[in-house]
Amino acid sequence: MNTSGTDGDLALVVDAVTVRFAGVTALDGVSFAVAPAAVHAVIGPNGAGKSTLFNVVSGAYRPASGSVRFRGNELTRLRPHQIAGLGVARTFQNIALLASATVEENLLLGRHHLTRAGFITTALRWPMAPREERRDRARAAEIAAFVGLSDKLDAMAGALSYGDRKRVEVARALCMEPDLLLLDEPVAGMNAHETAVMAHLIRDIRETLLIPILLVEHDMGLVMGIADRVTVLDFGRRIADGPPEQVQRDPEVQRAYLGTGEEAS
């Protein structure tokens, strides 16, 4: 793995990351790299450490050892809001929206790190504050349209369907104008139709914004359909890494998912 200062034109480099808590090793020397404008999937059985990985990248956990580099910055030394400031946005497995606020209010939170209206300028209504707010609302409306939620901007986030709420999460992440998007189980709990809609959206994002997308997922169909590269984790360790077709045929992967002595169908 490339440990020198030059990560070439790789967008995100995860380098030998190890996370331990309460006697459990959640991640054990995991390494992989995400190429620019690529969709990179991380898969693995439950408990394999996928969400832990996301939490390390977005700054919620500090690893015991290893490094995570994004555009020359060492993410493991930064606080979550600083990582957000670098352009790293994510969605959450269990949907972390403000249920009793409107969709628009939720989207506007994503604009926080891009604007500057503070405790004095906002309260005294310095011209800067309403101007920024108008721009933010316009941009949020644009992104809502892109995601297909234009008609739901004024709805309470808690009243929406599960699929819609997941899309609000994606929209909120997009409002951060990210340079790296982390999607945590974007189609978990969705039926076939909703999954197809989300897959379509992810492809749209990749094609329009040309940003790298790292996604954690269980749904093999989605992963094989849209991922450029797949990393497989099992018990916190990387057991495979490569293009989807190659990973699918890997015997280690089959064993991790299906148990020993059986072949994948």
Binding site: R79, A84, F92, L98, L109, G110, A129, M176
Partner: protein
């Protein structure tokens, strides 16, 4: 003892379980009745001193003092979700800060009392800043503590503060307290002086009348400031911190810094409330600034509505006025005994009401009285719509 457990939940929501300000604000903005209603209220408030006697004006001043402090606590608890029971500490900093800065130093009776004899306006501003600094100093500790630990740690602040107030006699006058210097604006004395009578529209304007307008102006200003904060970017960020602290950070909100801002502003509000409170009392004693006062502010924001600035003001008016109103009409109200006699005195009755209101509202309508008002309004509108027919 076994290995300490560690908390792994990243996206576990916290919050207060409140109907959010954002939605309520969005709805209210569109209601056309708002502005005329607000103007009417303002006209009434301006006219009050012309018709009402000193007792009610004095009460009003206490209400204003409570409102300003409650607006600050509402910001800290309702918007930022930080349960701090130390609010009375910062109120004390404001009250005693103003008193010491504005008083004439020297010997009173047998004791030395400190005073810088600054102009009251300057003293008031400095006292507020002092309270803000105290809030800033406390905030790094506060930021490291989980919500519930903060509630109890802030109680400690109150007790330490009380101890200092009782013991720092040259500054605070100790147990017996200190007189509060009267307020003056350049060219206008607030305290009544003989031979100097100000008349407005035929009504004599004494201390209570002038202080009423001062309190009204300050309350209106702080109300608008808080309302603008709530509606804009800072309010959104604070609510994100309240409901999902870790997620807020990941969304780009510098959580520790925003908690510090919340403490700074709320303690400045508390300090300003303390200045008004000192002016309302005329003489302050340390006993006032204990846990009971901190609980009182909490009661104000819970009854009025934790999340909205209007709720803070409404709650403050209710809490400030109820005991006095009950006392005034104790003779006619059943079940109330006059002060000193056996039975339930008006002050005690008021406390029962407050406790019951807190329990009841949190059980059934955590949005407080303003949320109840919202529901009634919506219910009325729905009934009217139905009555209009298909």
């Amino acid at each position: 003892m076994s290995e300490p457990r560690v908390d792994l939940a990243v996206d576990e929501p916290a919050g207060l379980g409140l109907p959010d300000v954002a939605a309520a604000t969005a709805r209210r903005r569109r209601s056309p009745a708002r502005i005329p209603a607000a103007l009417a209220g303002l006209v009434v408030a301006l006219a009050v001193p012309l018709y009402v006697d000193a007792f009610w004006l004095q009460l009003g001043l206490f209400a204003f003092a409570g409102a300003v402090a409650a607006l600050g606590l509402g910001l800290l608890l309702g918007q930022a979700g930080q349960l701090s029971l130390g609010h009375s500490f910062f109120v004390a900093v404001g009250a005693y800060g103003y008193t010491v800065l504005a008083a004439e130093g020297g010997t009173i009776g047998v004791s030395q009392q400190a005073g810088l004899a600054l102009p009251p306006v300057v003293a008031a501003v400095l006292a507020v800043l002092l309270a803000g600094v105290a809030g800033l100093l406390f905030s790094p500790i506060a930021a490291r503590l989980r919500g519930i630990y903060l509630g109890i740690a802030s109680l400690g602040l109150v007790f330490v503060g009380l101890h200092v107030l009782f013991n720092a006699e040259p500054l605070t006058g100790g147990f017996n307290g200190r007189n509060v210097p009267g307020f003056t604006l350049p060219g206008l004395r607030f305290d009544s002086t003989s031979g100097e009578a100000l008349y407005v529209l035929g009504v004599p304007f004494g201390r209570e009348e002038k202080l009423w307008y001062l309190g009204l102006a300050i309350t209106a200003g702080t109300y608008l400031y808080r309302r603008n904060l709530d509606r804009g970017r800072p309010g959104r960020a604070l609510r994100a911190v309240r409901d999902h602290e870790l997620v807020a950070g990941i969304m780009g909100v510098p959580v520790t810094r925003y908690k510090a801002y919340a403490f700074l502003i709320s303690s400045m509000y508390a300090g300003l409330g303390g200045v008004l409170l000192a002016l309302a009392f005329g003489r302050i004693v340390p006993e006032t600034f204990g846990v009971a006062l901190a609980v009182e502010y909490l009661v104000m924001v819970v009854i009025g509505g934790l999340a909205t600035p209007a709720g803070a003001v409404a709650g403050a008016v209710f809490v400030a006025c109820l005991p006095a109103v009950l006392e005034r009409y104790a003779a006619v109200l059943p079940g109330l005994a006059p002060a000193g006699a056996q039975g339930v005195s008006p002050a005690v009755a008021a406390r029962f009401v407050f406790g019951a209101a807190v329990v009841g509202l949190l059980l059934f309508e955590p949005g407080g009285v303003t949320a109840v008002g919202d529901r009634l309004r919506r219910g009325v509108r729905r009934a009217l719509n139905r009555a209009r027919g298909p």
